[in-house]
């Protein structure tokens, strides 16, 4: 009796699974047929689009504006093969406190020397050691989607029309 029950159950489970698979396949089929899915590839799911050429890294050594005060500055130069590991940090060979006299590069800011209690230490804090977690180079790639970011100055100007801009 028990044995029969189990058989009955498993048969029902198989039937259900089949139905589910069928439903999914049908749904997917209709989506593929319609090809209306929004993707960043800008192409249908079933087609293989030719990949865009690899974007070039900007290497002009010109500082870029920051979009908000806390924004980590972007890297205005190539960083190909820069080694950052426990042996050496290539960025710091120019941007460290002692190297900037020779390199004339901007020094890593004092916040990078702070531990989590805000105490300034003698060297760059381990939690700030991996530069590329926040600072990144920029390429000439076109944005895949637009955005409606508005600079804070413009927002204030709109809210308080009479206010002078800094």
């Amino acid at each position: 009796m028990r044995h029969q029950d189990r058989q009955g159950l498993s048969a029902r489970a198989v039937l259900l699974a089949c139905a589910a698979v069928l439903a999914t396949a049908l749904a997917a089929g209709s989506v593929i047929a319609a090809d209306t899915t929004a993707t960043l590839r800008k192409d249908g799911i079933s087609s293989q689009k030719a990949p865009p050429p690899i974007a070039r890294v900007e290497n002009r050594d010109l500082k870029r504006a920051r979009n908000y005060p806390e924004q980590p500055p972007t890297i205005p130069h190539q960083i190909r093969d820069y080694q950052i590991d426990r042996n050496v940090n290539k960025c710091l060979t120019c941007h460290s406190r002692t190297a900037v006299e020779q390199s004339q590069a901007p020094m890593v800011s004092v916040t990078h020397f702070m531990d989590r209690d805000g105490q300034v230490r003698g060297a760059v804090s381990p939690r700030r050691y991996f530069c590329l977690q926040c600072h990144v180079p920029q390429t000439d790639a076109k944005p895949l989607v637009g955005n409606t970011f508005t600079d804070v100055d413009a927002v204030i100007q709109e809210a308080v029309p009479g206010r002078k801009e800094n």
């Binding site: 050594d61 130069h77 190909r80 093969d81 080694q83 426990r86 050496v88 290539k90 390199s103 590069a105």
Partner: protein, 196 residues
């Protein structure tokens, strides 16, 4: 006494005139034998001066060569490639021979497995890199300059900071290439305490 006798016989043979061969045969024969010997020697020397030869040892193939492959000196837009001997062996013949004689130490290292594992290699990396830095410092980065001639550099085509640094430190010979460009083709060891 037999040894002494045979040495005396050899000496007499060498110092005496040729009994069976003509002067022409000995002169031209010697000339041709010289060409064959010299050609063979140089061919063998050049065979040891190829990337294929260098990476026939797993020590080179799995460590430094593997690291080189992603760098600009191996993979780049213009298809110019610097292989091992371009940077590590002088091009001038006398300097090359001197370097090759030094390299006999590397044969010793190979036989006794000085860097036969990755761990052993990493352990010794600072010392080995130090040798190359010293060598390039001493010869004013000769191997760099075999391709990168300061006189031929177009500063306007360089990025701003590169042009600025080359003008300030390279032009007046205050620094040489390797002073700033360490680790350009291989990973660096622990650089704590190494002058930048």
């Amino acid at each position: 006494m037999a040894l002494r006798d045979s040495i005396i016989t050899l000496w007499k043979t060498l110092t005496g005139p040729a009994r069976h061969f003509s002067l022409g045969f000995l002169t031209f024969g010697g000339f041709i034998a010289g060409i064959v010997f010299w050609g063979g020697f140089n061919t063998a020397l050049e065979l040891t001066n190829t990337e294929t030869f260098c990476i026939s040892c797993h020590e080179m193939r799995d460590n430094v060569y593997a690291e080189l492959k992603s760098t600009i000196h191996y993979t780049n837009r213009s298809g110019v490639r610097a292989t091992c001997p371009d940077c590590h062996v002088p091009h001038q013949w006398t300097d090359k021979i001197a370097r090759k004689m030094q390299a006999s130490k590397e044969v010793w290292g190979k036989i006794f497995g000085t860097i036969s594992t990755r761990d052993k290699f990493l352990e010794k990396r600072l010392e080995l890199a130090g040798h190359e830095w010293e060598r390039l410092k001493a010869n004013d980065s000769l191997e760099c300059r075999n391709c990168h001639n300061f006189e031929f550099m177009d500063f306007t085509a360089q990025s701003k900071r590169a042009a600025d640094h080359h003008a300030r430190f390279l032009a007046n010979k205050e620094k040489t290439c390797i002073d700033c460009h360490k680790g350009i083709a291989h990973r660096l060891p622990d650089m704590a305490g190494i002058a930048k």
